[in-house]
Symmetry: C2
Subunit: 424 residues, 2 copies
């Protein structure tokens, strides 16, 4: 069973909006055993949308679209799909009732444009959009298409609660099976699709590939290794198509053994989640003091629900006065060694640990750039300190030349060492 995604909107093609929907949808499809063949982004243009639909259906059985479902003039997806499936718009009392309930406390929004939202193509099944007004439209003839709004929050809820169950129902058992050698639109076969990912650190991509070369060359058919460098680390993903689970596990274990000295995590999970889980399981707490990362580390740690159980707080100490007066860093040390120094970063970590009364604390201080670099401390120089029950460690890194790169990598380095500290 193969699928394609078409994201619709001029904003995608002039770079005004990053298409985050596709990756999220791809993950959902993958988890449900549906292989994604291609992602295509097109303009709000009827001819272009039709052509993209034709091309997608020539390769795949299922097409998911996002975007172009708003009540405004620039949104044309509903009209185009109506023509494409040779049907017409009719009023849906169910959607009308839903939209009226949605805006019950905002009567001004219940205007004549909003009323066009409850006009739906006669030939489609309407799936509920619990948090928005645009109906989710599911078409099924020899082809299968679901159109969702482009607003990520609406799409995510619709996909999870409505679209995946609908696909599973309509396509039945076959949705849970896939094989790369299934001909397009072919019959489903009972073979596995599996991916597993580990995160490694401290080795260059090419050195890693040489280390794994012999094993990789001998990989049985259907197994394949991918290298994904990110923020100074590498994710290694083993893909298995149509092979036995035992064979897959066997090769996975060999891989893990070969790179054991470099493994940070042997699953595909954000490091901050792994750190949080270890803290939580041991009843430990953490705080952060950030200079160059400017709040990014705190935001990462708080991205996932439940962080309040182990995360207490952070001081973003951009200014030296804040380092001195809030975190208690010695003014003499700031003057003598500078803000980007081992002395200062240690005091920042110890200061915030004491201030927030946590078991652990991480501090960062560096030159994120593009300005502020010196011969002695060029852009990319970052000091990181970890203060814990057994004392404080500090390490200096050189993390590149671009502001975003430097701060992203600094957060990753901070979390990797923190994870190691907790694993010990």
């Amino acid at each position: 069973m193969q699928a394609e995604i078409i994201t619709i909107g001029d904003e995608l093609l002039i770079g005004q909006v990053v298409d985050t929907n596709s990756a999220w949808m791809a993950e959902q499809l993958f988890e449900n055993g549906i292989q994604l063949k291609q992602i295509t982004s097109v303009h709000d243009d009827a001819e272009h949308i039709r052509k993209a639909l034709d091309e997608a259906f020539s390769r795949a059985d299922i097409v998911l679209t996002t975007g172009g479902l708003g009540p405004t003039k620039d949104d044309i997806t509903k009209k185009v799909l109506c023509d494409y499936f040779h049907t017409r718009l009719v009023a849906s009392p169910t959607v009308e009732a839903h939209v009226r309930a949605l805006y019950a406390d905002r009567p001004d929004v219940l205007n004549r444009l909003t009323a066009t939202q409850w006009l739906v193509p006669e030939a489609c099944a309407v799936l509920e959009n619990r948090v928005g007004s645009a109906p989710i439209m599911a078409f099924k003839d020899t082809r299968c298409l679901v159109a969702m709004p482009g607003v990520p929050y609406e799409m995510k809820i619709a996909m999870t609660e409505q679209v995946i169950p609908w696909l599973n129902r309509v396509i039945g058992e076959s949705v849970n099976r896939v094989s790369p050698d299934t001909p397009v639109k072919g019959e489903p076969v009972n073979r596995m699709m599996e991916h597993r990912t580990m995160l490694v650190n401290g080795i260059a991509e090419s050195s890693l590939a040489i280390l794994l070369e012999e094993w990789e060359t001998r990989l049985p058919d259907g197994l394949h290794l991918a290298y994904l460098p990110k923020d100074g680390t590498i994710r290694l993903r083993l893909d298995g198509y149509g092979c036995e689970q035992e064979l897959f596990d066997n090769e996975w274990n060999k891989l893990r053994e070969s790179v054991r000295d470099y493994i940070v995590l042997d699953e595909d999970r954000p490091i901050e989640l792994a750190v949080g889980e270890l803290l939580k399981n041991r009843g430990l707490t953490i705080s952060t003091a950030e200079s160059c990362t400017g709040g990014k580390l705190a935001a990462l740690l708080n991205r996932h629900s439940g962080s309040s159980e182990w995360y207490k707080g952070s001081v973003v100490a951009y200014a030296n006065e804040v380092k001195e007066h809030v975190l208690g860093v010695s003014g003499a040390d700031l003057a003598q060694y500078g803000a980007v120094s081992e002395q200062v970063v240690r005091q920042m970590a110890e200061g915030v640990r004491c201030l927030c009364q946590t078991d652990w604390a991480i501090a960062t201080s560096g030159v994120a750039g593009p300005t502020g670099g010196t011969a002695d401390k060029p852009v990319g120089t970052v000091w990181i300190a970890w203060a814990g029950p057994d004392g404080t460690q500090a390490e200096c890194f050189h993390l590149g030349k671009l502001r975003e790169q430097v701060t992203d990598r600094a957060c990753t380095k901070a979390l990797i060492k923190m994870l190691k500290n907790l694993q010990m």
Copy 2:
């Protein structure tokens, strides 16, 4: 002159990586007057890549690809392009010298796999990849193709410093002109392409569309309005293809006049940058105290270079102890009103303003969810306070049901009001 982007990598199709490259590249193309027709993401599969190239060249003159240029086995783009352009790989002494210099202090990386990076297709021009080892390959026959690495930092530097200048040189003057009615592969014509965007807040999309309906219906040919809702605000983008600048400006001014009560910014710029610029111009400083936004507001304010001139620091006060002991929030008020309350958020803003000795301070406290909601304060309830030279304001918002949505919208609301305060 039309272009297409093809991003290559299995990781994109299983949702392991979000394609942020395309939007960034689209913006660059747009700024250089090159119209982007379609974005396509495909697997690391030779047949699939070739087919995508054929399809793209049937619609466009220029194709940009990212991904698949690493030294490891899973990366096949270079080989595929070699076949596609009927050429062969030859060693490039320039690339070799560059790669050797790049890894001068890491001799272990200069292994035989890294050495494959200086093999390049004979038929292409090699552009410098200043920060990475994969050569940028520019092909030009009747078609024009540039292949870049998928690592965003490398792609961005290459695109800015090498690819855009190369495109401008190769395609010459025509690159700076575009028209929607130019036939595919047609001759360039001297007509304008323009987009301008404003950010509005405080009105529903449908109500806005009704407000603008009469004006929008009468828009001259070649002008078109797009609505882009985000984080509770709407970006309105006026597109002009092939029309006179004066006509465009005239309609832009009419649009601005019609929505003047709702305008936050009349340009497409992150709000935090506008806030930062106003602070800087007036010699003012700011700090933040965050509970539910958990560092996101600080990270936003510090995303752009130069923030240290006006941004002093932040306290992320997740735990009530931190609110009390670091920010000086009254323990009695915390107990009586709860952390998500007007009383507490005001004290947080005033506390951090005093602690960091800034002119302004913003504080957030809310229920980001998915847990922690009560009948009284459901998920999505967020109190925000702004403390300034003339006192403190506070406002309560209801920002949705999803954690990410709530925190993103809270940051947006905090910045909009801050901007208004500074504009007064």
